[in-house]
């Protein structure tokens, strides 16, 4: 059997949950229309994962973690985010 590591008192290192890719949960995924986007940051601030950031002055969704809740689209003031059905490849 594989050996398991049990730390003293179960102490865990920070941020280690990143290996848990919750992106597999989603049914719909948010897609950004960069033409419409005004970089207001609302989606960035409201994402519960968080998995939305600005990269090269563009909103980028990290689909590895996005659970597809749709909050980003709902809070977008210019309707720049559309939730599309995720087809699993």
């Amino acid at each position: 059997m594989d050996e398991v590591v049990i730390t003293l008192g179960g102490v865990v290192k920070p941020g280690t949950a990143r290996k848990n890719k919750t992106g597999s949960w989603k049914v719909f995924k948010p897609v950004v229309d960069h033409e419409k986007c005004i970089l207001c940051m609302r989606c960035v601030n409201y994402c519960p994962e968080p998995c939305i950031s600005v990269v090269d002055e563009k909103i980028e969704m990290d689909y590895d973690y996005c659970k597809g809740c749709g909050i980003c689209g709902d809070v977008c003031p210019v309707d720049a985010i559309e939730m599309v059905y995720e087809t699993k490849g």
């Binding site: 398991v4 049990i6 003293l8 008192g9 179960g10 102490v11 865990v12 290192k13 920070p14």
Partner: protein
């Protein structure tokens, strides 16, 4: 230089705490423990002890405060009794699981109902599965000394488990005896500062208290059990080193007193051991070979040592101040459990005595031992000092 003084048991304990210098102390009053925290309050008020002293809103909060403080890297202390220890129950398991070396003193007292403020050991015995090391002091000197040993063992990286140092309420907490009190300098030589490897700090933001799924939980309990096994070795070592350092105190995990070739072994814990020793000596003078095993620590349970001291005896008798209704006394069960694996299984008798502060005079113990020796008692568990009872609805 030895500082020998006649002091009350609680004051001796408070003194030991002062020299051990915990960083955080939480306190909540309960009889018969109260004199300990009162004395510590005095030290704090007079600047004789420099610690954060938190007057908690309950024993549950007191021990929870220590969980937070200990996880932050502080040395911690509190003291309690009976209902207070029962109220701590949930946190006791938590502290042990988090491997926090908290040390508390317990002034043993009966549990309600019916309400009873007097001594027995039901309170701490009932916490036997909580993962805490449990020491039982025979006298005030030992209650004082065991605190230093408890911190040393608990804080050892090989162990990292919490300890409770139990002393019989009133019998030891409120009695006066001459005690060799620690000097601050000598305690520092015996007990190094507590510098944990992992603790809560923004420098290295670790997560304490993760949840373990069925995939991991068993291994957590397993390593806790292994740590307790290592604690047994560490306690034995610490006792010896303490004795070398201070020229006093027991040197064995399960000290045995009386004739080595005695054919009767009496096992007991706490202040009762002193009475049992007196009785054994008297019976020895009458020609009976009775030796006494002192349950200095109940957790870890010294099963190997128990088999060793019971080797060759015909009868084992346990006197204890607790009972598990529907079963028997916990110490009796565990002594028998240990002896099941010995080649020569002696007859076993267990007696609950001294419940709820009932006095246990020598003559009661002598009578019970003699009844066992003469074969007048059935093997098994009995109430040793119960009066005839007629049950009634009202």
């Amino acid at each position: 230089m030895i500082m020998r003084k006649v002091v009350e048991g609680s004051i001796a304990v408070a003194h030991a705490v002062r020299t051990i210098k915990p960083d955080v102390i939480a306190a909540y009053p309960i009889t018969p423990q109260t004199h300990i925290v009162e004395k510590i309050s005095e030290y704090i008020a007079n600047g004789e002890l420099n610690a954060e002293y938190v007057r908690a809103d309950s024993e549950f909060s007191a021990i929870s405060i220590l969980v937070g403080a200990s996880a932050t890297g502080a040395r911690t202390f509190t003291s309690t009794s009976s209902q207070g220890l029962a109220l701590m129950h949930e946190v006791l398991f938590n502290a042990a699981g988090m491997r926090l070396p908290i040390v508390i003193s317990v002034a043993n007292r009966a549990l309600s109902a019916p309400l009873n403020i007097w001594n027995d050991q039901q309170d701490s015995i009932s916490q036997r599965d909580s993962g805490w090391i449990q020491f039982y002091a025979e006298d005030i000197q030992e209650a004082h000394d065991l605190l230093a040993i408890a911190y040393r063992v608990s804080e050892d990286i090989e162990v990292r488990l919490p300890s409770m140092v139990c002393m019989d309420g009133f019998i030891l907490t409120h009695a006066y005896e001459p005690v060799e009190l620690f000097e601050e300098s000598e305690i520092r030589d015996f007990l190094p500062d507590y510098n944990p490897e992992v603790y809560l700090t923004t420098e290295n933001p670790l997560t304490f208290g993760a949840l373990a799924t069925p995939e991991y939980y068993t291994e957590f309990r397993y390593v806790q059990t292994r740590a307790m096994e290592r604690a047994e070795k560490k306690i034995a070592e610490s006792l010896k080193e303490f004795n070398e350092h201070f020229q006093r105190g027991e040197t064995d995990l399960l000290p045995v007193h009386g004739p080595e070739d005695g054919d009767v072994l009496v096992v007991s814990s706490g202040s009762l051991v002193s009475t049992v020793k007196e009785v054994a000596e008297k019976l020895g003078n009458d020609g009976f070979g009775v030796k006494v095993g002192k349950m200095l620590c109940f957790r870890p349970f010294p099963a190997d040592a128990m088999r060793k001291i019971a080797d060759g005896v015909d009868k084992v008798i346990v006197f204890e101040k607790d009972v598990s209704p529907g079963s028997e006394g916990a110490i009796f069960s565990e002594v028998k459990g240990a002896l099941y694996h010995s080649e020569n299984r002696p007859e076993a008798y267990g007696f609950a005595v001294g419940l709820g502060g009932r006095d246990v005079p020598e003559r009661v113990l002598e009578k019970l031992i003699m009844e066992c020796i003469r074969g007048e008692r059935k093997e098994g568990f009995h109430f040793g000092d119960v009066r005839p009872v007629r049950e009634a609805i009202l």
